[in-house]
Protein backbone atom coordinates (compact mmCIF):
# COMPACT_ATOMS: atom_id res chain seq x y z
CA UNK A 1 0.00 0.00 0.00
CA UNK A 2 2.86 2.37 0.80
CA UNK A 3 4.11 2.18 -2.77
CA UNK A 4 0.72 3.00 -4.24
CA UNK A 5 0.21 6.11 -2.19
CA UNK A 6 1.72 8.47 -4.75
CA UNK A 7 0.33 6.61 -7.77
CA UNK A 8 -2.85 7.98 -9.21
CA UNK A 9 -4.21 5.15 -11.35
CA UNK A 10 -6.22 3.57 -8.52
CA UNK A 11 -7.69 6.91 -7.50
CA UNK A 12 -8.90 7.43 -11.06
CA UNK A 13 -10.15 3.86 -11.15
CA UNK A 14 -12.22 4.50 -8.03
CA UNK A 15 -13.65 7.71 -9.42
CA UNK A 16 -14.39 6.10 -12.81
CA UNK A 17 -16.15 3.18 -11.12
CA UNK A 18 -18.27 5.56 -9.04
CA UNK A 19 -19.18 7.64 -12.10
CA UNK A 20 -20.29 4.41 -13.78
CA UNK A 21 -22.24 3.45 -10.65
CA UNK A 22 -24.01 6.82 -10.50
CA UNK A 23 -24.87 6.84 -14.21
CA UNK A 24 -25.96 3.21 -14.50
CA UNK A 25 -27.46 3.10 -11.03
CA UNK A 26 -29.67 6.10 -11.65
CA UNK A 27 -30.50 5.72 -15.36
CA UNK A 28 -31.47 2.06 -15.73
CA UNK A 29 -35.25 1.97 -15.25
CA UNK A 30 -37.24 -0.36 -13.03
CA UNK A 31 -38.94 -3.35 -14.61
CA UNK A 32 -42.50 -2.56 -15.72
CA UNK A 33 -44.99 -3.50 -13.03
CA UNK A 34 -48.43 -2.72 -11.64
CA UNK A 35 -48.15 -1.24 -8.15
CA UNK A 36 -51.88 -0.55 -7.87
CA UNK A 37 -54.66 -3.02 -8.62
CA UNK A 38 -58.23 -2.27 -7.59
CA UNK A 39 -61.03 -4.74 -8.21
CA UNK A 40 -64.79 -4.67 -8.61
CA UNK A 41 -67.48 -7.23 -9.46
CA UNK A 42 -69.95 -7.05 -12.29
CA UNK A 43 -72.45 -9.28 -10.52
CA UNK A 44 -75.21 -10.40 -12.90
CA UNK A 45 -72.57 -11.15 -15.54
CA UNK A 46 -70.28 -12.84 -12.97
CA UNK A 47 -67.34 -10.74 -14.04
CA UNK A 48 -64.32 -9.52 -12.13
CA UNK A 49 -62.96 -6.14 -13.20
CA UNK A 50 -59.39 -5.12 -12.36
CA UNK A 51 -58.19 -1.56 -12.78
CA UNK A 52 -54.42 -1.50 -13.19
CA UNK A 53 -52.13 1.42 -12.55
CA UNK A 54 -48.80 0.66 -14.16
CA UNK A 55 -45.30 1.92 -13.48
CA UNK A 56 -42.87 2.15 -16.42
CA UNK A 57 -45.50 0.33 -18.47
CA UNK A 58 -46.36 1.00 -22.10
CA UNK A 59 -49.89 -0.34 -22.33
CA UNK A 60 -50.80 1.60 -25.49
CA UNK A 61 -47.91 0.19 -27.50
CA UNK A 62 -48.93 -3.40 -26.89
CA UNK A 63 -52.68 -2.89 -26.53
CA UNK A 64 -53.95 -5.73 -28.68
CA UNK A 65 -51.41 -8.33 -27.70
CA UNK A 66 -51.46 -7.82 -23.94
CA UNK A 67 -52.49 -10.97 -22.13
CA UNK A 68 -53.17 -11.42 -18.45
CA UNK A 69 -53.80 -14.27 -16.03
CA UNK A 70 -54.96 -14.53 -12.47
CA UNK A 71 -53.28 -17.51 -10.87
CA UNK A 72 -52.69 -19.27 -7.57
CA UNK A 73 -49.52 -17.92 -6.00
CA UNK A 74 -47.17 -20.86 -5.55
CA UNK A 75 -47.14 -22.92 -8.71
CA UNK A 76 -49.01 -20.32 -10.82
CA UNK A 77 -51.61 -23.03 -11.40
CA UNK A 78 -54.57 -23.19 -11.71
CA UNK A 79 -55.23 -19.92 -13.50
CA UNK A 80 -57.84 -18.06 -15.52
CA UNK A 81 -56.98 -15.82 -18.44
CA UNK A 82 -58.47 -12.39 -18.97
CA UNK A 83 -61.43 -12.00 -21.28
CA UNK A 84 -60.72 -8.49 -22.44
CA UNK A 85 -58.43 -5.57 -21.85
CA UNK A 86 -59.18 -1.90 -22.44
CA UNK A 87 -56.30 0.53 -22.36
CA UNK A 88 -56.78 4.14 -21.30
CA UNK A 89 -53.18 5.27 -21.53
CA UNK A 90 -49.68 3.88 -20.92
CA UNK A 91 -50.31 3.59 -17.18
CA UNK A 92 -54.02 2.81 -17.00
CA UNK A 93 -55.75 -0.34 -18.18
CA UNK A 94 -58.85 -2.31 -17.25
CA UNK A 95 -58.93 -6.09 -17.29
CA UNK A 96 -62.09 -8.18 -17.29
CA UNK A 97 -62.16 -11.78 -16.07
CA UNK A 98 -64.96 -14.33 -16.15
CA UNK A 99 -65.09 -15.80 -12.68
CA UNK A 100 -65.15 -19.62 -12.61
CA UNK A 101 -67.93 -21.50 -10.87
CA UNK A 102 -66.07 -22.27 -7.65
CA UNK A 103 -62.86 -21.99 -5.75
CA UNK A 104 -60.67 -25.14 -5.79
CA UNK A 105 -59.13 -26.43 -2.58
CA UNK A 106 -60.62 -26.01 0.87
CA UNK A 107 -59.43 -22.52 1.83
CA UNK A 108 -62.11 -19.90 2.29
CA UNK A 109 -59.95 -17.11 0.91
CA UNK A 110 -57.41 -16.97 -1.85
CA UNK A 111 -54.86 -14.33 -2.76
CA UNK A 112 -54.28 -14.45 -6.49
CA UNK A 113 -51.23 -13.28 -8.41
CA UNK A 114 -51.59 -11.33 -11.61
CA UNK A 115 -49.37 -12.05 -14.61
CA UNK A 116 -49.34 -9.51 -17.40
CA UNK A 117 -47.57 -10.29 -20.66
CA UNK A 118 -46.89 -8.19 -23.74
CA UNK A 119 -44.28 -7.80 -26.44
CA UNK A 120 -43.04 -4.38 -25.28
CA UNK A 121 -42.97 -4.73 -21.49
CA UNK A 122 -42.33 -8.48 -21.34
CA UNK A 123 -44.03 -10.62 -18.73
CA UNK A 124 -44.25 -9.54 -15.10
CA UNK A 125 -46.02 -10.78 -12.02
CA UNK A 126 -47.89 -8.80 -9.37
CA UNK A 127 -48.22 -10.99 -6.27
CA UNK A 128 -51.31 -10.56 -4.10
CA UNK A 129 -53.16 -8.65 -6.82
CA UNK A 130 -56.66 -9.56 -5.67
CA UNK A 131 -58.11 -11.42 -2.69
CA UNK A 132 -61.25 -13.41 -3.29
CA UNK A 133 -63.49 -15.28 -0.88
CA UNK A 134 -65.33 -18.50 -1.52
CA UNK A 135 -68.62 -16.60 -1.53
CA UNK A 136 -67.42 -14.42 -4.42
CA UNK A 137 -67.75 -17.42 -6.74
CA UNK A 138 -71.26 -18.17 -7.95
CA UNK A 139 -72.30 -21.37 -9.60
CA UNK A 140 -73.61 -19.71 -12.73
CA UNK A 141 -70.43 -19.67 -14.75
CA UNK A 142 -69.20 -22.07 -17.36
CA UNK A 143 -65.62 -20.78 -17.16
CA UNK A 144 -63.21 -23.31 -15.65
CA UNK A 145 -59.88 -23.07 -13.89
CA UNK A 146 -57.09 -23.95 -16.27
CA UNK A 147 -54.47 -26.39 -14.93
CA UNK A 148 -52.05 -26.10 -17.88
CA UNK A 149 -48.77 -24.31 -17.60
CA UNK A 150 -48.74 -20.75 -18.93
CA UNK A 151 -46.52 -20.73 -22.01
CA UNK A 152 -45.26 -18.31 -24.61
CA UNK A 153 -44.40 -15.48 -22.23
CA UNK A 154 -42.36 -12.61 -23.65
CA UNK A 155 -38.92 -11.73 -22.35
CA UNK A 156 -38.07 -8.11 -21.72
CA UNK A 157 -35.16 -7.08 -23.93
CA UNK A 158 -34.32 -3.84 -22.10
CA UNK A 159 -31.98 -3.67 -19.09
CA UNK A 160 -33.99 -3.10 -15.93
CA UNK A 161 -33.72 -3.29 -12.16
CA UNK A 162 -36.21 -5.48 -10.29
CA UNK A 163 -39.46 -3.79 -9.28
CA UNK A 164 -40.43 -4.51 -5.69
CA UNK A 165 -43.41 -3.22 -3.79
CA UNK A 166 -42.66 -0.69 -1.02
CA UNK A 167 -38.97 -0.58 -2.05
CA UNK A 168 -39.75 0.77 -5.53
CA UNK A 169 -37.03 3.14 -6.84
CA UNK A 170 -35.12 2.98 -3.56
CA UNK A 171 -33.72 -0.38 -4.71
CA UNK A 172 -30.98 1.88 -6.13
CA UNK A 173 -29.82 2.52 -2.57
CA UNK A 174 -28.16 -0.90 -2.81
CA UNK A 175 -25.29 0.84 -4.62
CA UNK A 176 -24.98 3.55 -2.00
CA UNK A 177 -26.15 2.31 1.39
CA UNK A 178 -25.33 -1.41 1.13
CA UNK A 179 -22.09 -0.93 -0.82
CA UNK A 180 -20.96 1.62 1.77
CA UNK A 181 -21.24 -0.94 4.55
CA UNK A 182 -19.21 -3.49 2.62
CA UNK A 183 -16.55 -0.87 1.93
CA UNK A 184 -16.53 -0.07 5.66
CA UNK A 185 -15.90 -3.72 6.57
CA UNK A 186 -13.03 -3.85 4.04
CA UNK A 187 -11.45 -0.71 5.54
CA UNK A 188 -11.82 -1.94 9.11
CA UNK A 189 -10.23 -5.24 8.07
CA UNK A 190 -7.27 -3.36 6.60
CA UNK A 191 -7.00 -1.25 9.77
CA UNK A 192 -6.97 -4.44 11.85
CA UNK A 193 -4.20 -5.91 9.67
CA UNK A 194 -2.08 -2.80 10.27
CA UNK A 195 -2.78 -3.01 14.01
CA UNK A 196 -1.49 -6.60 13.99
CA UNK A 197 1.59 -5.46 12.08
CA UNK A 198 2.17 -2.75 14.66
CA UNK A 199 2.20 -5.31 17.45
CA UNK A 200 4.53 -7.57 15.45
CA UNK A 201 7.01 -4.73 14.94
CA UNK A 202 6.62 -3.82 18.58
CA UNK A 203 7.59 -7.33 19.60
CA UNK A 204 10.55 -7.29 17.24
CA UNK A 205 11.81 -3.98 18.60
CA UNK A 206 11.45 -5.25 22.17
CA UNK A 207 13.66 -8.22 21.31
CA UNK A 208 16.29 -5.79 20.12
CA UNK A 209 15.83 -5.93 16.35
CA UNK A 210 16.11 -2.72 14.32
CA UNK A 211 12.90 -1.79 12.56
CA UNK A 212 13.41 -0.68 8.95
CA UNK A 213 12.81 2.97 8.23
CA UNK A 214 10.86 4.08 5.20
CA UNK A 215 10.26 7.63 4.09
CA UNK A 216 11.69 9.02 7.31
CA UNK A 217 9.52 6.96 9.66
CA UNK A 218 10.02 3.46 10.97
CA UNK A 219 7.55 0.82 9.79
CA UNK A 220 6.05 0.39 13.24
CA UNK A 221 4.97 4.03 13.44
CA UNK A 222 3.73 3.88 9.88
CA UNK A 223 1.57 0.86 10.73
CA UNK A 224 0.08 2.82 13.63
CA UNK A 225 -0.71 5.79 11.40
CA UNK A 226 -2.21 3.55 8.69
CA UNK A 227 -4.38 1.86 11.26
CA UNK A 228 -5.60 5.25 12.48
CA UNK A 229 -6.26 6.63 8.98
CA UNK A 230 -8.14 3.51 7.81
CA UNK A 231 -10.23 3.36 10.98
CA UNK A 232 -11.16 7.02 10.59
CA UNK A 233 -12.26 6.61 6.96
CA UNK A 234 -14.07 3.38 7.89
CA UNK A 235 -15.92 5.09 10.71
CA UNK A 236 -17.00 7.86 8.35
CA UNK A 237 -18.43 5.22 5.99
CA UNK A 238 -20.16 3.56 8.93
CA UNK A 239 -21.76 6.78 10.14
CA UNK A 240 -22.87 7.57 6.60
CA UNK A 241 -24.27 4.04 6.32
CA UNK A 242 -26.26 4.59 9.50
CA UNK A 243 -27.57 8.01 8.41
CA UNK A 244 -28.53 6.84 4.92
CA UNK A 245 -30.12 3.82 6.59
CA UNK A 246 -32.28 6.14 8.72
CA UNK A 247 -33.63 7.86 5.63
CA UNK A 248 -34.20 4.65 3.71
CA UNK A 249 -35.91 3.05 6.72
CA UNK A 250 -38.23 6.04 7.13
CA UNK A 251 -39.77 5.50 3.70
CA UNK A 252 -39.74 1.71 3.54
CA UNK A 253 -40.09 0.46 7.13
CA UNK A 254 -42.08 3.44 8.40
CA UNK A 255 -39.76 5.15 10.85
CA UNK A 256 -36.17 6.35 11.09
CA UNK A 257 -35.41 3.94 13.92
CA UNK A 258 -37.39 0.73 14.19
CA UNK A 259 -35.38 -0.87 16.99
CA UNK A 260 -34.26 -3.47 14.51
CA UNK A 261 -31.54 -5.85 15.76
CA UNK A 262 -29.14 -4.88 12.99
CA UNK A 263 -29.68 -1.19 13.65
CA UNK A 264 -28.77 -1.73 17.31
CA UNK A 265 -25.76 -3.93 16.69
CA UNK A 266 -24.24 -1.66 14.03
CA UNK A 267 -24.79 1.32 16.32
CA UNK A 268 -22.94 -0.55 19.11
CA UNK A 269 -20.14 -1.52 16.71
CA UNK A 270 -19.71 2.09 15.60
CA UNK A 271 -19.67 3.29 19.22
CA UNK A 272 -16.95 0.74 19.99
CA UNK A 273 -14.95 2.05 17.04
CA UNK A 274 -15.44 5.69 18.05
CA UNK A 275 -14.01 4.84 21.48
CA UNK A 276 -10.79 4.02 19.58
CA UNK A 277 -10.26 7.74 18.99
CA UNK A 278 -11.05 8.61 22.59
CA UNK A 279 -8.52 6.01 23.68
CA UNK A 280 -5.86 7.40 21.35
CA UNK A 281 -6.28 10.94 22.53
CA UNK A 282 -5.87 9.90 26.16
CA UNK A 283 -2.22 8.86 25.73
CA UNK A 284 0.60 11.36 25.35
CA UNK A 285 3.41 8.86 25.02
CA UNK A 286 3.51 7.55 21.38
CA UNK A 287 4.66 4.01 22.17
CA UNK A 288 2.02 3.43 24.82
CA UNK A 289 -0.61 5.00 22.59
CA UNK A 290 0.39 2.86 19.64
CA UNK A 291 0.38 -0.39 21.59
CA UNK A 292 -2.91 0.18 23.39
CA UNK A 293 -4.76 1.46 20.36
CA UNK A 294 -3.49 -1.39 18.18
CA UNK A 295 -4.75 -3.89 20.73
CA UNK A 296 -8.05 -2.04 20.99
CA UNK A 297 -8.43 -1.94 17.19
CA UNK A 298 -8.07 -5.73 17.00
CA UNK A 299 -10.57 -6.09 19.85
CA UNK A 300 -13.05 -3.80 18.07
CA UNK A 301 -12.73 -5.78 14.84
CA UNK A 302 -13.27 -9.04 16.68
CA UNK A 303 -16.50 -7.56 18.08
CA UNK A 304 -17.55 -6.02 14.74
CA UNK A 305 -17.96 -9.31 12.89
CA UNK A 306 -20.38 -10.99 15.35
CA UNK A 307 -22.20 -7.71 15.89
CA UNK A 308 -23.00 -6.99 12.27
CA UNK A 309 -22.95 -10.45 10.69
CA UNK A 310 -23.67 -13.16 13.24
CA UNK A 311 -26.04 -11.73 15.87
CA UNK A 312 -28.58 -10.29 13.36
CA UNK A 313 -28.75 -13.69 11.65
CA UNK A 314 -29.31 -15.49 14.93
CA UNK A 315 -32.08 -13.21 16.14
CA UNK A 316 -35.71 -14.16 15.78
CA UNK A 317 -36.83 -11.17 13.77
CA UNK A 318 -35.19 -8.47 11.76
CA UNK A 319 -36.30 -6.14 9.00
CA UNK A 320 -32.98 -6.40 7.20
CA UNK A 321 -32.85 -8.90 4.34
CA UNK A 322 -30.81 -12.00 5.07
CA UNK A 323 -31.36 -11.76 8.83
CA UNK A 324 -33.78 -13.25 11.32
CA UNK A 325 -35.26 -15.70 8.85
CA UNK A 326 -35.79 -13.10 6.15
CA UNK A 327 -34.73 -14.22 2.71
CA UNK A 328 -31.31 -12.86 1.79
CA UNK A 329 -30.79 -11.04 -1.46
CA UNK A 330 -32.06 -13.76 -3.77
CA UNK A 331 -31.73 -13.83 -7.51
CA UNK A 332 -34.98 -11.87 -7.72
CA UNK A 333 -33.73 -9.03 -5.51
CA UNK A 334 -30.12 -8.76 -6.65
CA UNK A 335 -30.37 -9.91 -10.25
CA UNK A 336 -27.65 -9.93 -12.91
CA UNK A 337 -28.21 -6.30 -13.88
CA UNK A 338 -27.91 -5.16 -10.29
CA UNK A 339 -24.76 -7.20 -9.74
CA UNK A 340 -23.22 -5.41 -12.73
CA UNK A 341 -23.57 -2.18 -10.77
CA UNK A 342 -23.28 -3.46 -7.20
CA UNK A 343 -19.82 -5.03 -7.34
CA UNK A 344 -18.22 -1.99 -9.06
CA UNK A 345 -19.97 0.15 -6.42
CA UNK A 346 -18.31 -1.79 -3.56
CA UNK A 347 -14.91 -1.49 -5.24
CA UNK A 348 -15.44 2.17 -6.11
CA UNK A 349 -16.44 3.21 -2.58
CA UNK A 350 -13.55 1.19 -1.14
CA UNK A 351 -11.02 2.88 -3.44
CA UNK A 352 -12.44 6.33 -2.70
CA UNK A 353 -12.28 5.66 1.04
CA UNK A 354 -8.69 4.37 0.67
CA UNK A 355 -7.81 7.59 -1.12
CA UNK A 356 -9.27 9.58 1.76
CA UNK A 357 -7.42 7.40 4.26
CA UNK A 358 -4.16 7.82 2.35
CA UNK A 359 -4.48 11.62 2.49
CA UNK A 360 -5.05 11.39 6.23
CA UNK A 361 -2.06 9.07 6.52
CA UNK A 362 0.24 11.45 4.63
CA UNK A 363 -0.92 14.31 6.80
CA UNK A 364 -0.25 12.50 10.07
CA UNK A 365 3.05 11.19 8.69
CA UNK A 366 4.15 14.75 8.06
CA UNK A 367 2.86 15.79 11.46
CA UNK A 368 4.82 13.03 13.20
CA UNK A 369 8.00 13.91 11.34
CA UNK A 370 7.67 17.57 12.26
CA UNK A 371 6.95 16.70 15.89
CA UNK A 372 10.04 14.49 16.01
CA UNK A 373 12.16 17.22 14.45
CA UNK A 374 10.91 19.71 17.00
CA UNK A 375 11.75 17.37 19.83
CA UNK A 376 15.27 16.81 18.48
CA UNK A 377 15.86 20.53 18.09
CA UNK A 378 14.34 21.45 21.39
CA UNK A 379 16.27 18.97 23.49
CA UNK A 380 19.74 20.54 23.02
CA UNK A 381 18.24 23.99 23.57
CA UNK A 382 16.65 22.82 26.79
CA UNK A 383 19.90 21.25 27.96
CA UNK A 384 21.76 24.45 27.22
CA UNK A 385 19.20 26.48 29.10
CA UNK A 386 19.47 24.09 32.06
CA UNK A 387 23.26 24.31 32.13
CA UNK A 388 23.02 28.08 31.92
CA UNK A 389 20.75 28.14 34.92
CA UNK A 390 23.07 25.88 36.91
CA UNK A 391 26.18 27.89 36.07
Amino acid sequence: MDGLIRKSWWKWLGVALLVYVFVAGMLIPLKPNVPLVSHAFDRPNNKLILDLTGYNTQFTQQAEETRAWLCFPDSLRPHISSRSISVTDDQQARLTFDLPASLPGDEDFVSLSLIVDGSVDGAYIRPDAVRLARVDFEDVSDNQWNYDKITGLNELSRMTFPARRIIEETIRNTYFHVALWLAMVILFTAAMVYAVRYLQFQKRSESGAVIPVKNGLDLRKRADLWSLALTEAGLLLGVLGLLTGFLWAKYTWGSYWSGDIKQYTTMVALLIYSAYFVLRSSFKEPEQRGRTSAAYNIFAFVLLIPLIYILPRLSENSLHPGNGGNPAFGSQDLDGTMRMVFYPAVLGWTLLACWMASLRFRLSQMQTKIDEKWEEEEWPVAEEAKSNVIS
Binding site: E169, T170, M366
Partner: protein
Protein backbone atom coordinates in the same frame (compact mmCIF):
# COMPACT_ATOMS: atom_id res chain seq x y z
CA UNK B 1 -21.68 37.79 3.61
CA UNK B 2 -23.18 35.52 6.34
CA UNK B 3 -26.39 37.53 6.11
CA UNK B 4 -26.55 36.94 2.36
CA UNK B 5 -26.03 33.19 2.82
CA UNK B 6 -28.73 33.06 5.50
CA UNK B 7 -31.15 34.98 3.25
CA UNK B 8 -30.49 32.56 0.40
CA UNK B 9 -31.05 29.53 2.64
CA UNK B 10 -34.31 30.94 4.02
CA UNK B 11 -35.41 31.81 0.50
CA UNK B 12 -34.93 28.21 -0.63
CA UNK B 13 -36.68 26.80 2.44
CA UNK B 14 -39.67 29.05 1.74
CA UNK B 15 -39.56 28.06 -1.90
CA UNK B 16 -39.60 24.38 -0.92
CA UNK B 17 -42.48 24.89 1.51
CA UNK B 18 -44.40 26.71 -1.21
CA UNK B 19 -43.70 24.03 -3.78
CA UNK B 20 -45.09 21.37 -1.47
CA UNK B 21 -48.40 23.19 -1.23
CA UNK B 22 -48.95 23.44 -4.98
CA UNK B 23 -51.64 21.03 -6.17
CA UNK B 24 -49.72 19.18 -8.91
CA UNK B 25 -47.06 17.93 -6.46
CA UNK B 26 -48.24 14.89 -4.45
CA UNK B 27 -48.95 15.36 -0.75
CA UNK B 28 -45.81 13.47 0.21
CA UNK B 29 -42.88 14.76 -1.79
CA UNK B 30 -40.46 12.01 -0.73
CA UNK B 31 -42.86 9.24 -1.78
CA UNK B 32 -43.60 10.72 -5.21
CA UNK B 33 -42.15 9.22 -8.41
CA UNK B 34 -41.62 5.80 -6.87
CA UNK B 35 -39.73 7.22 -3.84
CA UNK B 36 -36.84 8.33 -6.05
CA UNK B 37 -36.17 11.32 -3.76
CA UNK B 38 -35.16 8.90 -1.00
CA UNK B 39 -32.27 7.86 -3.25
CA UNK B 40 -31.50 11.54 -3.91
CA UNK B 41 -31.50 12.15 -0.13
CA UNK B 42 -29.13 9.23 0.44
CA UNK B 43 -26.71 10.59 -2.17
CA UNK B 44 -26.89 14.07 -0.61
CA UNK B 45 -26.08 12.61 2.84
CA UNK B 46 -23.05 10.77 1.42
CA UNK B 47 -21.90 13.91 -0.38
CA UNK B 48 -22.16 15.94 2.84
CA UNK B 49 -20.19 13.22 4.66
CA UNK B 50 -17.38 13.47 2.12
CA UNK B 51 -17.41 17.27 2.41
CA UNK B 52 -17.19 16.91 6.21
CA UNK B 53 -14.11 14.73 5.81
CA UNK B 54 -12.56 17.26 3.43
CA UNK B 55 -13.26 20.05 5.91
CA UNK B 56 -11.61 18.11 8.74
CA UNK B 57 -8.56 17.49 6.54
CA UNK B 58 -8.47 21.20 5.76
CA UNK B 59 -8.45 22.05 9.48
CA UNK B 60 -5.65 19.61 10.17
CA UNK B 61 -3.55 20.97 7.29
CA UNK B 62 -4.05 24.51 8.56
CA UNK B 63 -2.82 23.43 11.98
CA UNK B 64 0.23 21.79 10.43
CA UNK B 65 1.03 24.88 8.37
CA UNK B 66 0.72 27.12 11.41
CA UNK B 67 3.05 24.87 13.36
CA UNK B 68 5.61 24.83 10.59
CA UNK B 69 6.02 28.60 10.39
Amino acid sequence: MPRLILTTIIFFICKLAYAQQSPDVPADFMRSLGKIYVVVGVIVIIFLGLVFYLWRLDRRLTKLEDQNH
